[in-house]
């Protein structure tokens, strides 16, 4: 004899420790099972796209830092590439290599945060998270050497970066590259074979290939479902065409696959960083002729890049003035969030937060 239970609708969030910011879900439970999920977004809306319309092209760089505040370097990169295409600026080679180094460091930092908070959501209280944050701290210190800020970097400028790396940056980077593989090994030893992690993440939050492609999901979530799509390889920007790296693919598309993909990508980023250091050459970091006030001709541009969370692109329209006429951001977090309902239906309450954490959503980017 089975017990009949009434479905209960509850609010999760917007202020809840495991929603990674201010995110609200209206969840309907039947006992412990999830029947319906309705995400409610907009609690962190700051109108960045509108604010960009009344600022000059250089000033908007500071706004892009605050969209995805866990990966500001890649945000800067995407915006700057779009401005360069719009204004027809050829960047300096050393500036491009430097911003690739910054972007790959940022990818490692962002994946460390994503995996750490995923394990935190699983209920492993702060220990594994702090191991990840310790590695991120080294990267943030390197960013402080580069540009004087740890999170809101504003390091990139149209044509390259604003200033060359200081002398103390290169030894710190080499030390990091030597240490980091051991640290990733430690993290894998701690978590990938841990039985509790395996029970909680395997075959939970499964996302099929077709569902992903239909909803235009990108990034590690897509690759975990087995689709080989990485914009660094398929549509190379900067100097990614001169660099060799492999793209790990998942099989099932569950939470554990997403966790593993991020760890593999951290290793691949280390390989890319080594190649960048080999290829970098002395020279100016920014062409002299690029003015502070960029005045692109009439037109529009969109350059998608592979940010840690997926395809990130800035669509800019210029009317020939000093500020963009229209700015639209294709935010990967927002689009990856759309399949949350399909992922969690039929799972238990506790799996909701794990699945939500495994998508690696940043609310600053969702609402902008």
């Amino acid at each position: 004899m089975s017990l009949r239970t009434e479905p209960v609708t509850m609010n999760v969030g917007p202020i809840h420790p495991s929603t990674h910011g201010v995110f609200r879900m209206r969840v309907t439970f039947d006992g412990e099972e999830i029947v319906d999920v309705e995400p409610v977004i907009g609690y962190l809306h700051r109108g960045s796209e509108k604010l960009a319309e009344e600022r000059t092209y250089t000033q908007v760089v500071t706004l892009t830092d605050r969209m995805d505040y866990v990966a500001s370097m890649t945000n800067n990169q995407s915006y700057i590439l779009s401005v360069e295409k719009l204004a027809g600026i050829t960047p300096s080679p050393r500036g491009v290599w430097l911003r690739m180094i910054a972007a790959e460091l940022q990818r490692i930092a962002s994946h460390a945060v994503a995996n750490g908070f995923l394990i935190n959501d699983l209920g492993a209280w702060h220990t594994p998270l702090l191991y990840m944050l310790r590695e991120r701290e080294k990267i943030l210190e390197m960013f402080e050497m580069l540009c004087g800020a740890r999170i809101t970097n504003s390091y990139l400028r149209p044509g390259g970066v604003f200033m060359d790396a200081p002398d103390q940056f290169w030894p710190a980077l080499n030390r990091f590259l030597d240490e980091m593989p051991n640290r990733i090994d430690d993290i894998e030893r701690l978590l990938t074979t841990n039985e509790i992690v395996l029970i909680r993440t395997q075959n939970v939050g499964v996302l099929k290939k077709e569902e992903c492609l239909n909803a235009s999901i990108t990034g590690p979530v897509l690759r975990a479902s087995g689709v080989d799509w990485d914009l660094r390889e398929k549509n190379p920007y900067d100097y990614y065409d001169q660099i060799e790296f492999s793209r790990p693919l998942g099989e099932i598309g569950d939470n554990h696959d997403r966790f593993l993909i991020r760890i593999f990508e951290m290793r691949e980023s280390l390989k890319i960083l080594r190649q960048c250091i080999e290829n970098i050459e002395p020279g100016p970091v920014r062409p002299k002729e690029v003015p502070f006030l960029v005045r692109p001709p009439k037109g529009d541009s969109y350059v998608p890049i592979e940010s840690p969370k997926g395809e990130l692109g800035f669509y800019l329209v210029s009317d020939g003035g000093i500020s963009p006429f229209r700015c639209h951001v294709r935010a990967p977090s927002l689009i990856n969030l759309t399949l949350l309902k399909e992922m969690v239906l039929g799972d238990k309450i506790a799996d909701l937060f794990v699945t939500f954490g495994s998508i690696d959503v940043n609310m600053g980017e969702v609402d902008r």
């Binding site: 600022r55 500071t62 210190e141 580069l146 004087g148 200033m163 200081p166 074979t193 841990n194």
Partner: protein, 221 residues
Amino acid sequence: MFGLGLIKGLFVTFKNLIGPTFTVQYPNKKVGLIKASKYYNKNPFSLFKSRPLEGFKAIVGQAVIKEFPDQFPRFRGQEFNWFEDRCTGCASCAKYCPLGIIEIETHPGENNIQEGTSYDIDVFDIDIGRCMFCGICVEACPFDALHMGSGFERAIEKREDLVISIDELRSAEKRPSTWFRPQIENSSYKPRNEEIEDSHDVGRHEKPSKEELTERWVNER
């Protein structure tokens, strides 16, 4: 075997338990005798002589010393550094600020050769409460007069105090950050350790002297 992964993981936790610590005990750290005498740069006996209380505390490991996190010279911090004799009052910083928080009022100076070459500054207010420390005002300054600061311990009790006035800018400690100022960075300069008093050292562009201005604006015409 079920549980093997748990044991493997606990081994990592144990390794981190006995490994070196990464935490910085900002702002105060409790230390023993050896570290305390190193901090005061004395041997333990003279530490007892000069600071007996600290010496007794250090024996039980309770002496309090200051500890700071690593800070790098490009760190964009609070308390803007403004060198008045370099400033021409062009208000580039106010124009380029993304938030418009810098307010400048000028009048033509007494010793100006021709209008537009020299201004005296009446008001130079920076509303720190809305500042996001992007450093674009510093990037825009054509004569290297405005610099980012390097402090981060600037808690303020009243909201009005968040607006830095021209007097505060004049009297502030001159510990400029090297953000966008490669000319300071080339030396072994550390903002925490040294102050820069001479405004001549911080600029790559020279502010023209009165004779040069006379030559340029009066004699040539």
